[in-house]
């Protein structure tokens, strides 16, 4: 016997009503939740974004030169322990180290680990001050009672890689956001006008779009890098790079917007609006834009990692951001040294974080793309 037939109405009234009154956003979210990979990606992404946002609190030290540990340069990561040959400790600890030089070491600085001296981890200590959301704080999540702790090691000047890592995530996300926003606004305007009006306006705008698309990024940046005056502060440089990334990224998005508008504007509901005398602005705002918001969101999420990676690449070759602004690219500026590759592998720990970040974006973007067509299946 067919269980389905005997069951009668399969969905109860409340769920039905929820489905009927669900707006587009709610429907997309409902579908998105069903995809495991996407939800996992979203979780990871949220974690990374939050950790970047709260980086000044989460990390123990100032990521710039000001917070460096002179006595522990190119130092290996220090893993907190609970137990060693001297006994068990409830509080995690690390070892102290001393720098000394003497004739025995040919007057080179040598760092020695002192296993008898412990440094205990403390929580919510006061440390370097920082500004967060316009206010000054100086508590950090954790620290040690003496000296410094370097969970991911230090670089050649003694800057804590752990701290730099999370500040870098924040910076890269910020650059990506600004770039994506600029690209989005331009794509909406240019793609929108192109797609909505068609005709010769479309042809001209498409020629411009294609011209911009063919501009090669690296030579452009090299040229721009030569023009950036040295007197510009790090922040200005930051905004400048972000803007340029946005200005180069809009053509692909614009094309998507245009294509979608060209199809949708011939739909009957648009004609119905026209027959009421609706202005083009009204039609775009109330009918056309909502119809592709879902697709645009997907495009935005997917273009994020490209922005981040572009910025990384540029900063890596020295054309992007510089100290004291921190980003993955800046952190990788010094890794081409053979010394680093052979001896100081912990310089690459941030790379893992960035791979994870980009993958998370990609999973979320794919999941959104699958979830974003909630109306296609209701057609008979």
């Amino acid at each position: 016997m067919n269980a389905a037939a005997a069951r009668g109405p399969a969905i109860d009234q409340k769920r039905k009503e929820a489905y009927f009154t669900a707006s587009q956003g709610q429907l997309i979210w409902a579908r998105f939740k069903q995809q495991k990979a996407a939800m996992a990606g979203a979780l990871v992404l949220a974690t990374l974004i939050l950790s970047g946002f709260f980086a000044p609190f989460l990390t123990p030290y100032d990521p710039t030169i000001a917070g460096r540990d002179k006595s522990y340069q190119n130092g290996a990561p220090q893993i907190p322990k609970f137990w060693d040959e001297n006994g068990f400790s409830a509080r995690p600890f690390i070892y102290s180290y001393e720098r000394s030089r003497s004739i025995a070491t040919n007057f080179r600085w040598v760092t020695q680990v002192r296993r008898d001296q412990r440094r205990y981890l403390s929580f919510l200590p006061e440390g370097d001050s920082y500004t967060f959301l316009g206010m000054k704080f100086n508590h950090h999540l954790f620290g040690v009672n003496r000296g410094q702790i370097h969970l991911f090691g230090t670089d050649s000047t003694g800057k804590d890689i752990f701290s730099r890592n999370f500040h870098a995530i924040n910076t890269s996300l910020a650059v990506g956001t600004i770039g994506v926003l600029i690209a989005f606004v331009m794509a909406l305007i240019i793609g929108g006008v192109s797609g909505f009006y068609g005709g010769w306006i479309d042809s001209i705008l498409q020629m411009i779009t294609d011209a911009i698309r063919t501009v090669p990024a690296i030579p452009l940046f090299m040229a721009l890098a030569a023009f950036i005056p040295d007197v510009w502060s790090a922040e200005m440089r930051f905004f400048f790079i972000s803007t340029i990334l946005g200005l180069i990224g809009w053509p692909t998005l614009a094309r998507r917007v245009r294509t979608h508008l060209l199809t949708e504007r011939n739909q009957e509901y648009v004609l119905a609006a026209r027959l009421c005398g609706a202005s083009p602005g009204h039609i775009i705002r109330r009918h056309l834009l909502p119809s592709f918001t879902s697709y645009i969101i997907v495009d935005l999420v997917i273009s994020f990692p490209y922005m981040v990676l572009s910025e990384t690449a540029l900063s890596f070759i020295g054309l992007g951001l510089k100290d004291p602004v921190n980003s993955l690219g800046v952190m990788l500026q010094n890794v081409t040294d053979a010394d680093v590759l052979l001896n100081y592998q912990w310089y690459f720990i941030p790379v893992i974080f960035f791979i994870t970040l980009v993958l998370a974006f990609v999973f979320v973007g794919d999941g959104l793309r699958d979830a974003a067509d909630p109306y296609s299946e209701t057609r008979k």
Partner: protein, 347 residues
């Protein structure tokens, strides 16, 4: 009231196509010098097959298709408009009086708007109400008339079936209290059992609100039941126009006769086709010379190829465009012209 509500005189809608690289650009003569007058309060049927131009005609009346020649006069007793020449201000006024219902209930409603917003949109765009309460009041009123459940106003279109969506479409078209409504294949996409429902609704709304309908359809049976007057189009020209009963009881034009006999009868024992039309419908970019129908007409003569018939009056409101209509009264077709199935004209 003898003045028709809306009258098209020699109306033509020609679309130029992107032509061959050399030679003249082909033109689609979608509507070609058509004369149609829709009386006030009528349920006026416009029928035709593909390429007949019926949809284009309906859109032209609402200024949703470019008018190449001829004029359209709208006169509802309060205002009189030359529709093809309306400036933007008068066009606004016209829009609140003339609206359209579309064929595809799935494409005609904006999927990201609630039903309430969809129905309210004409009021808001045309500025017909001043406050939100007034808008809501009118939306509820028309929704109730269209037999829509008021709870449904909060829902989105994806919650509804084809028939319900069509009723939402109707509510949207009527919320501005127009006088003239073009129903472009309004029931064609609906299931048969729902069609009857929507047709009855249109008829009762017409009575209640004093509307005039131009009902465009390819389905003659539906037209027969709902319309009081029918005009038959073929390749952009009027072939015949008459009150419904007369058209179906005594059609004069060979095309109308063939159309009627082509409709599959519900009676299984009625299986003789009086006249089967051979051949295909010619393309509107390259219509036949003289009478547009002559290539498929079983009664065509030499002069039908040369001369284009004008509309002649048969009786009262019954008109026909055929050079031979008088002779063909009850005549058996001469030799049915065998047309090759690819629509080429025989020499």
């Amino acid at each position: 009231m003898d003045t028709p509500l809306i009258a098209a005189r020699d109306l033509s809608v020609h679309y130029p196509l992107r032509g061959a690289l050399f030679g003249p650009r082909p033109v689609v003569r979608a509507v070609d010098a058509v004369n149609i007058s829709v009386p006030r309060g009528s349920f006026f049927g416009l029928v035709g097959e593909s390429g007949s131009g019926k949809t284009t005609f309906g859109r032209a009346l609402l200024r949703a298709a470019p008018i190449s020649a001829g004029d359209i006069i709208y006169d509802d007793g309060e205002v009189r408009y030359q529709v093809e020449r309306l400036g933007s201000r008068d066009l606004k006024g016209y829009r609140s009086r003339a609206q359209m219902i579309f064929q595809d209930p799935y494409a005609a409603l904006s999927p990201r708007m609630t039903v309430r917003d969809i129905i309210a949109e004409p009021l808001e765009v045309m500025g017909l109400t001043r406050t939100r309460e007034e808008t809501d009041e009118r939306v509820r009123d028309i929704a109730a008339r269209c037999r829509l459940n008021l709870e449904h106003l909060r829902r989105f279109p994806h919650a509804f079936s084809g028939g319900q969506r069509q009723r939402i479409s109707i509510a949207r078209a009527l919320v501005s209290r127009p006088r003239f409504v073009v129903a472009d294949e309004a029931v064609a996409a609906l299931d048969v059992s729902i069609q009857a429902d929507v047709l009855n609704l249109l008829r009762s709304l017409q009575q209640e609100m004093g509307l005039t309908f131009l009902f465009i359809s390819h389905d003659l049976s539906v037209v027969a039941h709902t319309c009081d007057h029918v005009t038959v189009l073929y390749l952009g020209r009027v072939m015949e126009s008459a009150p419904t009963r007369e058209l179906f009881a005594a059609p004069r034009h060979p095309y109308t006769r063939a159309l009627l006999s082509a409709i599959p009868s519900l009676d299984p024992d009625d299986r003789g086709n009086a006249q089967m039309l051979e051949g295909e419908i010619p393309s509107p970019t390259d219509p036949p010379s003289g009478c547009k129908f002559h290539t498929r007409c079983p009664h065509a003569e030499a002069r039908c190829r040369r001369e284009e018939p004008a509309l002649s009056q048969v009786a009262g409101a019954h008109e026909v465009a055929c050079l031979r209509w008088r002779e063909l009264d009850g005549a058996v077709p001469v030799a049915p012209v065998r047309q090759p199935a690819d629509g080429t004209t025989p020499t």
